[in-house]
C-alpha cells in the first residue's frame, strides 16, 4: 500500500498537475472518531493531502449532521477548491450540496454514500461490503478445495449493513461448493468480548474438532475468538482456519504469529483515490465515475504482516 501511494504521489509531483494541486485548499468534514478505523482514515487523509501539498481544512462533526452541514457552509464561504465529505447519515444533504454546486465547488463523498441526485457530487469513494465478503469466501473456497469444511460464522451487529452485506457476499462465494457448509451463525456485535463468548459456545455446541473454519465479519471478533480457541486447547490458524475483514493492526499481528489465516483490508485510504480523481478533474475536466470502489485487498500469511502491523500501528487504529 505504502509503495503504491508513494508511486502515485511521485507521479503526481512530476506531472504538470502538480502546479494545480500545489495551491489547492480542500475542506474535509469527518463524522467523528467513533472507531479505530475512523481515526486511521483521518490520519491517512491528512497524510495524503500533505503528500500532494494540499492545504486541508479539517472539521470533526462529532457524529452530528448539523455540524457537518455548518462545516460545509463554512467551507463554501471560505471558497475552498473542493470538499471531502464522510456523511454521518444518508439523507438530508440536498440543500447544502446544491449550495456547493452553485458555488462551483466539487464535493467528493468518502466511505459512505448519500441519497441525493448524482449531479450534486463529483464522485463517491467507498468499499463494497458485499465484495469484501466474497473475497473472504473465495479465499476459503480455494484454501479448502476438495475438503469437507464445517464453518462457523460470527456476524456483526444484527441488522447493520456491514453485517448483512458481508454475510451475503460470503454466502455468494461459497454457493455451489458443497464441501463448504455454515453450521452455526450468531452475532458477536463486532466486539472482542462477544466474539470470544460466542466462539466458546460454538466450540462446545459443535465440538472443536468438528469446526474447520471461522468467518468473522470483523477482525475484533476474530481476535476474541482466537483466545477462546486457545483456551479450548486448540491451535487457531491450524486446527481452525480463521478469516475476517477490516485489516486492523492486531489482525496483521495475529497472522504474523500464525494464529489467523487471512484478513480483507477495509482500506483507511479513501482520500488517495479521491484526491487523484479531483486532480484529474481540475486539470482537464475529466469526469470520474460516480462510484470509485476501493481495493478490498486480501492479506494472508504470504504477506509481510509484521511490517504492515508496524506501519498501521501509528495510524490511530
Amino acid at each position: 500500500m505504502s509503495i503504491r501511494s508513494a508511486l502515485l504521489a511521485s507521479a503526481v509531483a512530476l506531472s504538470p498537475l502538480a502546479a494545480a494541486a500545489q495551491d489547492m485548499t480542500i475542506g474535509f468534514s469527518q463524522i467523528g472518531s467513533e472507531s479505530g478505523w475512523r481515526a486511521a482514515e483521518t490520519t491517512v487523509t491528512k497524510q495524503e493531502a500533505e503528500k500532494r501539498g494540499i492545504d486541508l481544512k479539517f472539521a470533526d462533526a462529532q457524529q452530528k449532521q448539523e455540524n457537518q452541514i455548518s462545516a460545509l457552509r463554512s467551507f463554501i464561504a471560505q471558497g475552498v477548491d473542493a470538499i471531502l465529505l464522510a456523511p454521518v447519515v444518508a439523507t438530508g444533504w440536498d440543500g447544502v450540496l446544491e449550495e456547493a454546486k452553485d458555488a462551483d465547488i466539487p464535493v467528493i463523498l468518502l466511505d459512505r454514500t448519500v441519497d441525493a441526485p448524482e449531479d450534486l457530487y463529483l464522485t463517491a469513494v467507498t468499499s463494497d461490503l458485499v465484495h469484501e465478503g466474497e473475497v473472504a469466501g473465495q479465499w476459503l473456497v480455494d484454501e479448502e478445495a476438495g475438503n469437507d469444511c464445517r464453518i462457523v460464522e460470527l456476524q456483526g451487529t444484527t441488522g447493520s449493513s456491514p453485517a448483512i452485506d458481508r454475510k451475503k457476499g460470503f454466502e455468494n462465494a461459497i454457493a455451489g461448493h458443497d464441501n463448504l457448509e455454515i453450521v452455526r451463525s450468531q452475532t458477536g456485535d463486532f466486539t472482542r468480548s462477544q466474539g470470544k463468548v460466542v466462539m466458546e459456545s460454538f466450540l462446545k455446541a459443535e465440538g472443536g474438532e468438528n469446526i474447520c473454519a471461522l468467518y468473522a465479519h470483523n477482525d475484533d471478533m476474530a481476535v476474541g475468538a482466537i483466545q477462546a480457541i486457545k483456551e479450548a486447547g486448540l491451535k487457531p490458524g491450524e486446527d481452525i482456519k480463521i478469516v475476517a475483514i477490516d485489516g486492523v493492526p492486531d489482525a496483521h499481528l495475529a497472522i504474523a504469529n500464525g494464529e489467523m489465516n487471512a484478513t480483507i483490508e477495509l482500506t483507511p485510504d479513501m482520500a488517495g483515490p479521491a484526491l487523484d480523481a479531483l486532480a484529474a478533474y481540475k486539470a482537464d475536466g475529466t469526469m470520474p465515475p460516480k462510484w470509485i470502489q476501493t481495493e478490498s485487498r486480501l492479506y494472508t500469511a504470504a504477506d509481510d504482516n509484521q511490517a504492515v502491523y508496524e506501519t498501521k500501528k501509528g495510524l490511530g487504529y
Binding site: G36, S185, K196
Partner: protein, 344 residues
C-alpha cells in the same frame, strides 16, 4: 438469616434457575458435562458461571444500592473506566497489582462521586448516576486514547482468563466476594441498617443511623464491584475496549436484582437471590447461543423468558398460587408458617 428461612426466600429463584437449565439441557444434551481439559474445567456449566461473573459482581453492589431505594446506572461505564485504568497502568510498565489497586481506587472514587451526589446533594439516584453513565465512557476513551488498549501482562490476564485449581479465576472471585458480602451484611447489623434507610430514611436517621455515610458506602461498594468486573472483562480479552466494555450491563445487573425478588422500592434484600438472578440471566444467554437460532431472535427470546420469570414472581400470580395451595386437599397441605414481620 437462618438456613431454612434463606432457603424459603430463594426457592423461587432456584426453581426458575432449574427450569432454565433444563431448557438448556433440552436444546443441548451435553449441557451438564464438565471435564478437565488441559488443567482447566471445560463445559457449558462452567461458561455460565464464568460469563455471569461481571453481572454477579455488579449485582452485589446494586442489591445494596437498591435496598436503600437508590439505583446505580453508572456501573457499566465504571467498568470501562476501571478496565482502561488497569490496562494503561500495565502498558506503562507498572506491576499488575499496582494496576489492580489503581483500578479499584478509580472505582471507589466513582462510588464516592455518586454517593455525594445522592447523599449530600440529595439528587435523585437515577439522575445522579446517569451523569457518570454518560460521561464515564468519554473518560475511559480519554484514558485509552480512543483505541483498544491491548496488554500482555500475564498477571493481569490471569484475573480474567486464568484458572485457580482448574476453576476459571472470575468464578473464584465472584463466589468469594459474594459469600463475603452476603455473610458480612447479615452477621453484622449493616444489612438491617441499609434496609432501614430504604424503608424510611427520615425515621432511620432519627433512630440514630448515620444515613449519609451509609449511603456513600453502598455506592462505593457498587463502584468497587464495577471496578473488579471491569478488570475481569479487560483481562479476558487482553485489552481495554472503552466503547464496549460493560455496555448495557447496568441493565442486566438491575434485572438480576429484580429477578432475585428484591423490590426497586428498597427495603428487604437478599444478596444470594440476586446472585441467582445473575446466573438465571446468564443461563438464558447460554440457551440463546446453544439454540442455534438466527441472531434476529436473540432479544425476542430473552424478552419472552424474562417476561415469563417476572410474571411468575408478580404479587398477583404468587397470591393465586398461594390460594391454590391453600385450597388443596388437606392431606397434601403443609401447615402454613406464620407470616413474619416485613415478609413479602
Amino acid at each position: 438469616m437462618m438456613g431454612r428461612a434463606l432457603l424459603r426466600r430463594i426457592a423461587p429463584q432456584l426453581v426458575i434457575l432449574a427450569i432454565v437449565l433444563a431448557l438448556n439441557l433440552m436444546v443441548f444434551p451435553d449441557f451438564l458435562k464438565v471435564e478437565l481439559q488441559h488443567g482447566r474445567l471445560f463445559g457449558n456449566l462452567i461458561d455460565v458461571l464464568n460469563r455471569g461473573a461481571p453481572t454477579a459482581l455488579l449485582c452485589l453492589g446494586m442489591t445494596l444500592v437498591i435496598a436503600t431505594r437508590g439505583i446505580d446506572l453508572s456501573v457499566g461505564a465504571v467498568m470501562a473506566i476501571a478496565g482502561a485504568t488497569a490496562a494503561s497502568l500495565v502498558v506503562d510498565g507498572h506491576h499488575f497489582l499496582t494496576a489492580v489497586a489503581g483500578a479499584l481506587a478509580v472505582g471507589a472514587i466513582c462510588g464516592i462521586w455518586n454517593g455525594i451526589l445522592v447523599a449530600v446533594l440529595r439528587i435523585q439516584p437515577i439522575v445522579a448516576t446517569l451523569v457518570l453513565m454518560v460521561a464515564g465512557r468519554g473518560i475511559a476513551q480519554l484514558i485509552t486514547g480512543g483505541t483498544i488498549l491491548t496488554f500482555l501482562d500475564p498477571g493481569l490476564i490471569h484475573l480474567g482468563a486464568g484458572t485457580i485449581f482448574g476453576v476459571p479465576t472470575p468464578i473464584v472471585i465472584w463466589l468469594a466476594l459474594g459469600t463475603f458480602v452476603a455473610i458480612f451484611v447479615r452477621r453484622t447489623a449493616l444489612g438491617m441498617l441499609i434496609e432501614a434507610i430504604g424503608i424510611n430514611e427520615a425515621s432511620s436517621r432519627l433512630a440514630g443511623i448515620n444515613s449519609k455515610v451509609l449511603l456513600v458506602c453502598v455506592y462505593i461498594v457498587s463502584g468497587l464491584g464495577a471496578a473488579i468486573a471491569g478488570i475481569i472483562v479487560a483481562a479476558d480479552i487482553q485489552g481495554a475496549d472503552a466503547n464496549n466494555a460493560g455496555l448495557w450491563l447496568e441493565l442486566d445487573a438491575i434485572l438480576a436484582v429484580v429477578i432475585g425478588g428484591n423490590s426497586l422500592l428498597g427495603g428487604r434484600f437478599s444478596i444470594v437471590a440476586s446472585l441467582l438472578g445473575a446466573m438465571i440471566i446468564q443461563s438464558v444467554n447460554s440457551l440463546i447461543l446453544l439454540s442455534g437460532l438466527p441472531p434476529e431472535f436473540n432479544l425476542i427470546i430473552k424478552a419472552l423468558l424474562i417476561l415469563a420469570i417476572l410474571v411468575i414472581q408478580s404479587p398477583k400470580v404468587s397470591h393465586l398460587l398461594y390460594i391454590l395451595r391453600a385450597s388443596a386437599p388437606q392431606s397434601a397441605r403443609k401447615p402454613l408458617p406464620p407470616l413474619k414481620e416485613g415478609q413479602r
